[in-house]
C-alpha cells in the first residue's frame, strides 16, 4: 500500500472517529506517555526524585525530634507529625521541577509544534498533572513505608492512606497548574526559577508544615489559613495521627475548589501566552 493510500484511509477515519472527549483523553495519554518515557530514561533523576521524601523524613525526623516540644505539636510522634509536611514539601518541589519540560518546550519551539496541532489547550497542563500524580503516588507510598518502619502507625489505616493520596492529588492540581501558568507567563526560564525559588519556601514556612496553627503568632496564623498547603497538611496529618474527623472533608473541599481555580487560571494563561487562539 502506498503512503497516499494509507493517508487517505487514515484521514477518512480521523474525521469520523470518536467524540471530543475521547480525542481529549487520547491527547492527554499521548502527552503523558512522552513525560513518562523521558523520566524512565533519566535513571538518576528517577532514583533521586522517588527516594527524596523518604530520605528527608529519616534525616529530618532523626535530627530535629529531640529539639521539639511535644506539647507544642500536640503529639510525641514527631515523625508522624512531619509526614504530612514532607509529603507537601515534595509536592511543591515536584511542581517546580515539573514545570521544567514546559519551559523547555516553550524555549526550544516544540510548543509551537504542539500548538499547530488540533489539540485542546488544556491537554498539555492536564497531562503534566496526570504524570505528576503518578510519580508522587510512588513517592508517597515509599515515604509512608519508611514511616511505618520508623514506628509511625496510621490512625486510619489503608483507607486513610488512600485519602492521603487523594488530598495529595488535589493539592498537586493547584501546584501544577500554578507553576505551569508561571512557566508560560515568564519571558525566560531565569525568571521562572527566581520566582519559584522565592515563593516555594515561604509557602511552606507560612503553613502548618512544621508548626501547628494554634501555637503560631496570630498574624502568621492568618496567612497560614489562606494557604492551600495548610489544608492538605491538616487533612493528611489528621488521617495519620487522629483518625476520621469531619474537618478532613472541609479540607478536601477547599483543596478541590482551589485546584479548579488554579486549573482555570493555568489554562487561561496558557491560551493567552500561546497567542489568543480558540
Amino acid at each position: 500500500m502506498s503512503i497516499e493510500q494509507v493517508a487517505d484511509e487514515s484521514r477518512a477515519r480521523v474525521h469520523t472517529a470518536g467524540g471530543a472527549r475521547r480525542r481529549w483523553v487520547q491527547e492527554v495519554l499521548a502527552l503523558t506517555r512522552r513525560w513518562w518515557i523521558e523520566l524512565l530514561r533519566e535513571r538518576l533523576n528517577l532514583a533521586f526524585s522517588i527516594a527524596q521524601p523518604a530520605i528527608w523524613l529519616v534525616f529530618f525526623g532523626a535530627g530535629v525530634e529531640r529539639a521539639i516540644d511535644a506539647e507544642a505539636i500536640g503529639t510525641d510522634d514527631y515523625t508522624g507529625f512531619m509526614l504530612a509536611g514532607i509529603i507537601t514539601f515534595t509536592i511543591v518541589g515536584n511542581g517546580v521541577s515539573g514545570a521544567m519540560p514546559l519551559l523547555w518546550d516553550k524555549e526550544t519551539g516544540y510548543l509551537d509544534r504542539l500548538m499547530s496541532m488540533p489539540i485542546a489547550r488544556s491537554s498539555v497542563i492536564v497531562s503534566r498533572f496526570v504524570f505528576q500524580v503518578a510519580q508522587q503516588t510512588v513517592q508517597i507510598l515509599l515515604v509512608v513505608m519508611v514511616a511505618l518502619v520508623l514506628g509511625v502507625r496510621l490512625a486510619t489505616g489503608v483507607p486513610g492512606l488512600l485519602v492521603i493520596l487523594l488530598a495529595a492529588a488535589l493539592l498537586t492540581m493547584s501546584v501544577t497548574a500554578a507553576f505551569s501558568a508561571l512557566a508560560y507567563a515568564v519571558p525566560q526560564h531565569g525568571t521562572f526559577f527566581a520566582v519559584a525559588g522565592f515563593v516555594s519556601l515561604p509557602l511552606l514556612f507560612m503553613s502548618n508544615a512544621f508548626v501547628p496553627l494554634d501555637v503560631m503568632p496570630a498574624w502568621m496564623e492568618v496567612v497560614a489559613r489562606v494557604n492551600p498547603l495548610t489544608y492538605a497538611i491538616d487533612a493528611m496529618r489528621t488521617l495519620a495521627l487522629d483518625g476520621w474527623e469531619p474537618r478532613i472533608a472541609v479540607s478536601l473541599a477547599v483543596l478541590t475548589l482551589v485546584g479548579a481555580l488554579c486549573l482555570a487560571l493555568g489554562t487561561w494563561q496558557f491560551r493567552k501566552q500561546t497567542g489568543d487562539r480558540a
Binding site: 500500500m1 503512503i3 497516499e4 494509507v6 493517508a7 487517505d8 484511509e9 487514515s10 484521514r11 477515519r13 480521523v14 472517529a17 470518536g18 480525542r23 487520547q26 491527547e27 495519554l29 499521548a30 502527552l31 506517555r33 512522552r34 518515557i37 523521558e38 530514561r41 533519566e42 523547555w104 518546550d105 526550544t108 519551539g109 516544540y110 509551537d112 509544534r113 504542539l114 500548538m115 499547530s116 496541532m117 488540533p118 489539540i119 500561546t274 497567542g275 489568543d276 487562539r277 480558540a278
Partner: protein
C-alpha cells in the same frame, strides 16, 4: 439515477475537485508594537501548487506562516486555509495543515518511532492504525532504519527528516514548510528536495518559505517574492525570469556610472541595474552579441573593465530588478 461511470475520463470528471484556493489571504496585516511586519498581503495558493515564499531573513515569511498555521492572530485582513478562517475556525485549519517549523523541534530522550507515534495520537489517529502509519511516514523520509534510535543521536539532517515525517502523519491537505533546508548539508538538502518532489507528485499542496533562490526555482511552480512585509512580485519562476529579459551580463568595473552612460542609449540594452557591490547588471536580448558590444564600448570610452560574465536570468535577478538589491547581498549583510 446517476449514469454509470465507464471510462477513466468519466470518473475523473465526476470526481474533479471544485477549483478553489487552498490558501487565500486578503489584505493580511500583522503589526508588532510599532513595527509593521506584514502589510496588505494577498496570496492565492491553488490545490496542487508548490508555492514558494521567497525573500531575505526578516522579510515576513515566518510571520506569514505563523498566521496561516494559527500560531499568530492577524492584526487585520483575512486568511483562509481550505476554506476556514484562521482566526475563527483555527481548529479546523490545524486539522488540515502539516506544519514543519524552521527550527528542528526538540524531542529529548525519545526514539524516532516514539516521537512519531505520540504525534500520531495527538492528531487523533485511531490507536490500532498508529504503528502502521508511523512506519509509513518514517519510510517515506528514509528514517525507518533509524526509527528505534534516540532522537539525541540523530544528525541535523535526520532530525529534520523526522520533523518532515511528522508533518505527514494526518495526511494534511496542505504542507507548510518553513525554510526546510536551512542549515543542512548538501546531502540533507537533496533529501528535503526529494521529499518535496515526491509529495508534489502525490498531488499535495505545499507552501514553502525559503531564502534559497535555487530551492524556489527548483521546487516551486509559483513564487511570491516578499521583502519588508510586502509582496514585490509573484508568478511562476519561468515567467518571472522571462520578465527580467533574456540574458544578464554582469560587469565589474571601477567606474560603473561612466559605463552606464556609455551603453544605456544602445538599442540592445533593455535595462541596467547597479548592484550594491558596484557591479552593473546589463539586461540584453542575447548575451552572445551583448558581451562583445559592452567590451567594445568600454574600450572606446577608456573604461577599465574587470570581470565580464553572463548568465541566464535567475530569481536573484528578479529580486534585484524589483527591489534594487541582490538577495545574496542581503543575506551576507544580515
Amino acid at each position: 439515477m446517476p449514469h454509470r461511470l465507464t471510462t477513466v475520463a468519466d470518473v475523473a470528471v465526476a470526481y474533479a475537485p471544485v477549483m478553489t484556493a487552498v490558501i487565500e489571504t486578503s489584505g493580511l496585516r500583522k503589526v508588532f508594537g510599532e513595527t509593521v511586519a506584514i502589510e496588505d498581503l494577498d496570496l492565492q495558493v491553488e490545490a496542487g501548487d508548490v508555492f514558494g515564499l521567497l525573500g531575505p531573513n526578516g522579510a515576513g515569511k515566518t510571520t506569514t506562516i505563523r498566521m496561516l498555521t494559527t500560531l499568530l492572530a492577524p492584526t487585520a485582513g483575512t486568511a483562509r486555509v481550505c476554506g476556514f478562517d484562521v482566526a475563527t475556525r483555527s481548529s479546523e485549519v490545524r486539522r488540515r495543515i502539516g506544519y514543519v517549523m524552521q527550527t528542528v523541534a526538540y524531542r529529548g530522550l525519545l526514539t524516532g518511532r516514539e516521537c512519531v507515534e505520540i504525534e500520531a495520537a495527538l492528531y487523533h489517529l485511531p490507536r490500532r492504525e498508529i504503528p502502521e502509519r508511523a512506519e509509513a511516514v518514517l519510510k517515506a523520509v528514509g528514517m525507518l532504519p533509524h526509527a528505534d534510535r534516540r532522537w539525541t543521536t540523530y544528525s541535523g539532517g535526520m532530525q529534520k527528516r523526522l520533523d518532515l515525517a511528522c508533518g505527514l502523519l494526518h495526511a494534511p491537505e496542505v504542507l507548510v514548510l518553513d525554510e526546510p533546508s536551512l542549515g543542512l548539508d548538501v546531502q540533507s538538502r537533496h533529501n528535503v528536495w526529494e521529499f518535496v518532489h515526491d509529495r508534489r507528485m502525490g498531488g499535495a499542496t505545499i507552501l514553502l518559505a525559503t531564502n534559497y533562490l535555487d530551492e524556489a526555482d527548483r521546487l516551486c511552480n509559483k513564487v511570491a517574492i516578499i521583502d519588508h512585509g510586502h509582496i514585490v512580485v509573484q508568478g511562476s519562476p519561468a515567467d518571472l525570469k522571462r520578465s527580467v529579459g533574456a540574458d544578464v551580463i554582469e560587469v565589474a568595473t571601477g567606474e560603473p556610472e561612466r559605463l552606464r552612460r556609455a551603453i544605456e542609449a544602445e538599442p540592445w540594452v533593455k535595462n541596467i541595474v547597479g548592484s550594491e557591490q558596484g557591479d552593473l547588471h546589463v539586461y540584453v536580448e542575447d548575451a552572445s552579441l551583448g558581451m562583445p558590444a559592452v567590451m567594445r564600448l568600454g574600450l572606446e570610452h577608456g573604461i577599465e573593465l574587470g570581470r565580464v560574465t553572463y548568465s541566464q536570468p535567475s530569481l536573484d535577478d528578479v529580486f534585484l530588478l524589483h527591489t534594487g538589491r541582490e538577495l545574496r547581498e542581503v543575506e551576507m549583510a544580515s
